[in-house]
């Protein structure tokens, strides 16, 4: 069961900022989940969102 989530952001060489991973805490363990429809953790994250939960925004890229 997901108890919290946070977006992870990185910067491409052309300076574009991208959110391509979600950090979740599931069953007390921290996992980084790719934005991938076939990944069952990501499927669970989408359900978590549908239940009205909101992820923490990504930290600003330095």
């Amino acid at each position: 069961m997901i108890t919290s989530a946070k977006e992870l952001k990185y910067t491409l060489p052309d300076a574009t900022e991208v959110v391509a991973n979600i950090e979740i805490v599931k069953n007390g363990e921290k996992w980084t989940v790719p934005i991938n429809e076939a990944n069952t953790d990501y499927q669970e994250y989408l359900k978590w969102l549908a239940e009205g939960n909101t992820p923490e925004p990504a930290d600003p890229v330095e």
């Binding site: 921290k30 980084t32 991938n36 429809e37 076939a38």
Partner: protein, 374 residues
């Protein structure tokens, strides 16, 4: 003893049920016939034989085996060396309380088969193949127990029962199930077929035995509840699901083959402190990046986590700094059969762009875990 040289041996009735020592060889029951991975319970990458108290739903225990649990801490799961003759291991579920199952409760063991591995069964159409599930089971309880087959969407279910006659004795069970001619059954890298063994399920999720139904059922109504008796044990091993109506002997694979099959869904690599995983570089002044190759192509782009204390990076100054929050950089998320990934990390140090780093274990028995489970 004379030799017998013939060109073919056929069924006297013209059918396809000629037997050899009680075994009926067909194209579907030779090597590769068992659709269950780790049915002999020999692999436990996550817990290495340690007992796990199940506190939440869908907790993975032994490789490829997870759980349903609508309430916390009602049972534990552990790889056991108590096994049926011919096996070295079993999966042991132990009841931790005497819990009265409510109508909406589900406590169960689950194995999910990838759609690719059941695509030939033709479920969902009129020609769906019959399948047979066989397993060795032992319990401190006796009576009629239950399980079920389901499709990936969990809107088609076939509850089945089996009887344990003697307490604390391994017994061999077989269940033959006519293939489902309805419903949607995935034949890709998604959830193809779910096999459940119930440890206690309420009336809401209990159905009529030995019939396909639209709905979500984990056992036949009235099955024995393992979680209902404190200290009750339930061991299972030698689980096989194969095409056809005959339960053939358990297909024992070589250990390396079984490990590779498991690593398609979960893989972890741990090393002693400073054990090296890879070499990478720094970009954007503070982002270590390195490539990682899996021993087996994974089902899809996996989730990643630190195993133990995770990794650290040696960099040019000779310093060693901890790598935090592994993440992916520029990966194709739609890809199946993922062999390599590019990982990046947060770091509490300032580094110079394009500096070479050596990625090593941050502490003893640490590294990375990857999960592409179903």
């Amino acid at each position: 003893m004379a030799d017998l040289n013939v060109n073919s041996i056929g069924d006297a009735s013209g059918g396809t049920t000629t037997t050899v020592n009680g075994y009926t060889p067909t194209a579907s029951n030779m090597a590769g016939r068992n659709r269950i991975i780790n049915g002999g319970m020999v692999l436990d990458q996550r817990n290495a034989g340690a007992s796990v108290t199940i506190t939440t739903d869908n907790t993975f225990t032994l490789d490829r085996w997870s759980t349903a649990a609508t309430a916390a801490s009602k049972f534990s799961v552990q790889q056991s060396t108590t096994a049926a003759t011919g096996f070295t291991n079993s999966l042991l579920a132990t009841s931790l309380t005497a819990y009265s199952v409510a109508a909406g409760d589900i406590f169960a063991l689950k194995h999910t088969i990838e759609g690719f591995n059941v695509s030939d069964l033709g479920f969902g159409v009129a020609s769906a193949s019959t399948v047979t599930v066989s397993f060795w089971v032992r319990s401190s309880l006796t009576g009629t127990f239950g399980g079920a087959l389901q499709n990936g969407a969990q809107n088609r279910s076939y509850p089945f029962s089996f009887t344990i006659n003697a307490a604390n004795t391994f017994e061999y069970k077989t269940v033959t199930i006519a293939g489902d001619t309805s419903g949607t059954w995935l034949t890709n890298n998604g959830k193809g077929l779910l096999l459940w063994f119930s440890l206690g399920t309420g009336t809401t999720y209990s159905g009529t035995a030995n019939a396909w139904a639209s709905g979500l059922y984990f056992q036949p109504t009235g099955s024995t509840s393992v979680v209902g008796t404190s200290g009750a044990t339930f061991y299972i091993t030698g689980v096989q699901l194969e095409a056809g109506s005959v339960a053939t002997p358990f297909e024992t694979r070589q250990y390396g083959q079984e490990l590779a099959l498991c690593q398609r869904y979960y893989f972890e690599e741990r090393k002693p402190i400073y054990g090296t995983f890879s070499v990478g570089r720094v970009f954007n002044s503070k982002t270590p990046q390195f490539g990682y190759k899996f021993p087996t192509p994974m089902r899809t782009l996996p989730s990643v986590a630190n195993a133990g204390s995770g990794c650290g990076a040696w960099y040019s100054s000779g310093s060693f700094t901890q790598l935090l929050s592994p993440a992916y950089y520029q990966e194709d998320s739609s890809k199946e059969n993922v062999s390599t990934v590019s990982l990046i990390f947060a770091i509490n140090a300032s580094l110079t762009d394009n500096t070479t780093i050596t990625v090593s274990s941050w502490a003893a028995n640490s590294g990375l875990s990857f999960s592409a489970e179903l």
